[in-house]
Symmetry: C2
Subunit: 303 residues, 2 copies
DNA sequence: TTGTAAGCGTTATCAA
DNA sequence: TTGATAACGCTTACAA
């Protein structure tokens, strides 16, 4: 390894980012005090000569307001630069139009590209429905649970997305006990109750296919690198691995004999996307399953 | 390249994640309706026999409430599992205790590890102060601007963090026009006004050091891979590159002759972290600069 | 078609 | 040390 003062390692990046973000937070903190004067419904009402009620309904596009009136009110509102105070609206309609996502963090990192994409995907779907995303990144443990508690009981979000189910997941237990709307990405561990809303891919079948692929090419020593067994998908992947080996009459490789199959693992998930499981069952049209076909030298999703 | 049905590429990961997240959103959407019955201040007041006012103050830890009373109220509140409705509080105190972070997305990805770490870092600092993070990932453009507008004018956040300043940045122009609290990570482009709050590293010095390092080792053809010039830090890095070459009496490499220096670039930022710039100036103690020293074969930050 | 008034769950003011 | 009462800015019965 070349000794260079410029070499990069992930710890450096981590400390760098943390240092920067900490400084930014401090700087931002000192700016909060400002009291922003905002145009409110009342102001529009005063300027336009109508009541707050009418203005509210005109802007909301209700049909029971005169077209002339509506145009006038809209004109005044845009001229004044009116924007509704969402917090007030939230309080009134008892919906926050926000969903919570608490990303499980390991080793100061999301550990892979997945959560990045996941975040973008969820954010995208949400913002189409004018929903916002409340994000928190927490390592599994007490801090994480209190993040859940705060968000849930503080009524900050309408629902929560829970990623990477764990064995005897305390988060699921909590959300169920609170009867709080949530959807998990990942099913329950074998033997545990599975009657909560979730989406999952069939990682067991995926890994089995993968092992069969290697076996078909003549390999007999096939290793598998797995994340901690605490995570449920690990259990299923492991099972798929044993399925594949057993089916081929091959015994498990000794512990020391490992192949790095990380990429293939994710890819195998993709391969089995079609066999996606969820509960409660969604109508097929709703969750828009995609067919998988071979294209180029990889698999591609088709709608 | 080996043709395997299990090969992974980033487009697959992207479509995979999007498919999953879309399904999750749909599933979650169908659960929103539920009306969660929550314990409120009034309930605690009724059970404890005190008024809403007193309960509120007891729970907030005000000094003007009898110790006996406080203990009793706290006891009742915890027994009932009371948690304040944060939205109501937000409306009343006119603070959302939330900060906004709109991550600029390119090519369906954050493009590097940085934003991941950044997100964790900010989230960490924020949650210590009981702040939450409203995150949106948007590609530069109109959608991005409307995300800013919605968040800003809807009063959803107390302040915004703006990452990766661009030349003639419309986001900065907007936030300044609205007089909205924000801090940028990245300074203004050369020649542009720089009187907005920002934090930045000295990328120009960093790249210069890097070039000098190569030159000292006898290299004469040194290339530099740069992100689009639209981003301000690119401009400074480019300048640092020219500085380094000019100082060594070496002319720029022809366009075709490139070395991949991505990692080194980030590392050079770390190296110059100490020369961090910001405006308005923070007191030294506040932004807790860290000294850089050589450790192992890389640079490490020390507090 | 429009307006009055109540209320969402807090915190803050002021009087008791 | 406590409690009425009035906001915060919006939506929505209900009445006019």
């Amino acid at each position: 390894m070349q000794h260079s003062p410029f070499r990069l390692d992930s710890q450096i990046v981590s400390e760098y980012s943390h240092s920067i973000s900490k400084t930014i937070w401090i700087a931002l903190n000192s700016l909060f005090k400002q009291d922003k004067m905002h145009i409110k419904l009342k102001d529009v009402a005063l300027k336009s000569g109508y009541s707050v009620t009418t203005v509210s309904r005109a802007l909301a596009g209700y049909s029971d307001v005169n077209e002339q009136t509506r145009l006038h009110i809209v004109e005044v509102a845009t001229r004044l630069g009116y924007q509704p105070n969402l917090v007030a609206r939230q309080l009134r309609i008892r919906r926050t139009q926000t969903i919570g996502l608490i990303i499980p963090v390991r080793d100061q990192s999301f550990s892979n590209e997945f959560f990045t994409q996941f975040l973008i995907g969820i954010g995208d779907a949400a913002s189409r429905a004018r929903y916002d995303l409340l994000v928190s990144a927490q390592a599994p443990g007490e801090e994480e649970m209190s993040a859940y508690r705060r968000i849930v009981s503080g009524n900050r979000v309408d629902g929560i997305i829970l990623a990477r189910t764990r064995r005897n997941d305390p988060r699921i237990a909590y959300l169920r006990a609170q009867n709080y709307p949530f959807v998990a990405f990942g099913r329950g561990a074998p033997g545990e109750p599975a009657d909560f809303p979730f989406i999952d891919v069939d990682g067991q079948a995926g890994i089995r296919l993968l092992v069969e692929h290697f076996v078909a090419r003549g390999h007999r020593h096939i290793g598998l690198i797995l994340p901690p067994e605490e995570m449920v998908f690990t259990v299923y992947r492991h099972a798929g691995y044993r399925d594949g080996l057993a089916g081929a009459g091959v015994s498990s490789a000794p512990a020391g004999n490992r192949t790095k199959t990380r990429n293939a693992i994710v890819k195998s998930d993709v391969r089995t996307l079609e066999q996606r499981t969820c509960w409660p069952p969604l109508r097929r049209a709703e969750h828009a399953p995609r067919r998988l076909t071979s294209r180029h030298d990889g698999l591609t999703l088709e709608s």
